[in-house]
Symmetry: C2
Subunit: 432 residues, 2 copies
């Protein structure tokens, strides 16, 4: 078989890793696919920039057409990022019958369905393992390893930046702002961290994962998102005291035919395997009807880990080329999308209140909860430094989201409640 | 496409699960493979036995030929266990051009290579995901998800029985014998637990995993095995005190072109993700040159989890049938087997000694170690109840196995040493 020619779109962190792995692991690639794999052309923004990988300057181009229109290029690997331009490039590549491997979650969360359709129409593979949780082969595990099972829930720590920040806040008792600055200095957070700390990055990954795991077209807009910018060290410490650890948690939950997908800071029992996922590591907990609980853990980002997923996808593409079966991945979702309404989303909650320390306050709050049929699992009450005020922290039993939001609204109107300080979902005890 | 017909060899725990999943998830299977999947015949030992799954009695047979010789049966699923007879059945099935899915680690560890060759010659698939770590899709992750990477080390908790026993011993401070009896009563250990507690079961899985992960034909005889029967609660408690947790650990390690595969009770730092794998759960930690550290966690046994892996393999077979590409899995190992000799196996060690409590004892022991160029990382010394004796517990720095075994031999000959009580490998700090 002739050598396989790759066109690489982008030579940033991940692109550099791809070049390195193709070079360093050429023997293994040869053994697996039976022919050499060469990078033929690389699209860059700047032809003369200093790079951490040695690349023959004749490989570089600033013109995407040098890749898209080259009939000798078999596979386009997209690691340039961005959405609209990149979508154009990939659609053109697919129409030129080039297979595509992408690490681009932003793109896949928004245009994944369209791209997969076009790939299918053109008999091309479109693989995107690297778009979710970097080096963890989670999409493949959902699609193949658990192919026979019915996935009922996925919980993911799928953003390394926020996990790093929450780990440091929790371990060192530091405030969000201080840790964020530190993370930026160390390269764990971007100069503009908005899409990480705001939860958007995690939401994109959850949309991709939920679409695949539930075989249902989940759009980014279907994902309810809350970031970590309002998480305080007090919340973390109270959580700890009650036996919980805070994580920015992606949740994709299915009951019957209805699903819920969300991203929010949530508390997990500290004994839960996800609670031990520290620093920039990622992990995805998967519940299957038959298999029960499984977890996939590893680096969620980084040059070489992410490139491993990209090049492993490339191996899949080339194996399919040899067998002549590209474009055979089923793309039609099995189910129509049905989202749960707020009355069907059930969870426990952590709630922290400042109340006026008067006789009967606690009874008033308790009866408000019991009017909505919600009871407490754990309660902590202590006086505040500020005279006449007390702090109450509760963990509720299961409550529907709509019910719980009504409670929050009424609490805010209650004269004895000075302030609702914070409120988080509590996860990790499986009821399915 | 016509319905796919399955012949099932065995209707025990896993076989029952396979029947249930094929029934309960028929919709999902149909969606994935595009045609119905039916169990046509089931080989059993006893036609009239009471079973936990409803099966039409006309499906049952005691004659393997009813499956092997039936030209309408496309895929043979082997969940009957056993080695020599079963090997015959599967060789015959493959020669009749039937694809095979097996959950049989005993068979695959011994005859895997032969079976794969025959499958390849007959253009058949032979999949065996369920043979290692039940519901965890670890073989697929090694073969596909990490296809582009060079695996340098795998550490596995791959036997649920021993992990259950060590967890209980550690958490409740109980002795091995007591916990074993309890485990047998609860169904976590067999009436004859020899192959579990002796490490053979784990060794078979490590041989299968190392062969795949290192692309090298590792035989069961290549795996050094030590079981947990001599582990004492004292060892666990001393381990804990020094920050370690005991696990029956399968280790497959590669340096350069040489490998080492072993199974033994070993100590891991309690903060290591594998140390949190409790009870009957399994997990495999994988180090790749590029990806770094990943972990795969889940149920290692059980009817439905194991059956999930079997039926997911079946989905793979049927997808290949639709595409006409069965038997395309590469079977030739990339590397000649090269095993490390004991001088090349490096590790830290935990060592517990009873010594005569005399002046200069400690110096004598220390100098023995330093004569072999081995130094200590941690030392614990305390008097024993028995007068004139003291207990010494040390954790060494890295030492070669041959060096360490010389030290052990010399210690046993040292007059001041009354007894070498126990010695374990210490793992979990990655030097690769």
């Amino acid at each position: 078989m002739q050598a396989i020619s790759i066109g690489l779109l982008g030579l940033g962190t991940v692109g550099t890793g791809v070049v390195k792995i193709i070079e360093n692991h050429q023997d293994k690639l040869m053994h697996q696919v039976g022919c050499p794999v060469n990078v033929k052309k690389i699209l860059v923004q700047d032809l003369v920039k200093e790079r951490t990988v040695k690349v023959d300057s004749s490989l570089l181009t600033v013109n995407p057409a040098d890749i898209i229109d080259d009939p000798e290029i078999d596979v386009v690997i997209e690691v340039m990022g961005g959405i609209e331009n990149t979508r154009e490039h990939l659609l053109n590549a697919l129409k030129m019958k080039k297979h595509v491997v992408t690490a681009n979650k932003d793109l896949m969360a928004v245009h994944g369905s369209e791209l997969m359709t076009v790939a299918h129409e053109n008999g091309c593979d479109l693989f995107y393992e690297a778009s979710v949780a970097g080096g963890i082969p989670i999409l493949r595990s959902l699609a193949d390893g658990l192919a026979s099972d019915r996935i009922t829930k996925m919980m993911g720590i799928v953003n390394g930046t926020t996990n790093y920040i929450l780990t440091k806040m929790s371990q060192e008792g530091l405030a969000y702002e201080a840790v964020l600055k530190d993370a930026q200095r160390l390269g764990y957070a971007e100069a503009n961290p908005a899409s990480d700390v705001g939860g958007l990055d995690a939401a994109r990954k959850m949309a991709i994962m939920a679409s695949l795991g539930f075989s249902m077209k989940i759009d980014l807009d279907d994902v309810k998102v809350k970031g970590i910018t309002e998480v305080t060290e007090e919340d973390l410490q109270y959580g700890k005291q009650l036996g919980y650890t805070m994580k920015l948690l992606g949740i994709a939950d299915r009951e019957g035919d209805k699903v819920e997908v969300s991203v929010q800071p949530a508390l997990l029992p500290s004994s839960h395997p996800l609670a031990s996922v520290h620093n920039e590591y990622n992990a995805v907990y998967v519940y299957g009807e038959a298999v029960g609980e499984t977890m996939f853990y590893g680096p969620g980002a980084g040059s070489l880990p992410t490139a491993t997923a990209v090049v492993s996808d490339l191996v899949g593409v080339v194996k399919n080329m040899r067998l002549g079966v590209n474009g055979s991945t089923s793309i039609t979702p099995q189910y129509e999308k049905q989202l749960k309404d707020d009355g069907e989303v059930n969870s426990k909650y952590f709630l922290r209140l400042h109340v006026h320390d008067e006789v009967g306050v606690f009874a008033e709050i308790t009866s408000l909860f019991s009017n909505h049929d919600v009871s407490f699992e754990k309660i902590l009450q202590m006086p505040l430094k500020e005279k006449g005020l007390a702090e109450i922290v509760v963990i509720t039993h299961q409550a529907s989201l709509s019910n719980y939001e009504n409670i929050l609204m009424e609490l805010r109107d209650l004269p004895v409640v000075k302030e609702v300080k914070s409120s988080y979902r509590v996860e990790g005890s499986v009821s399915v």
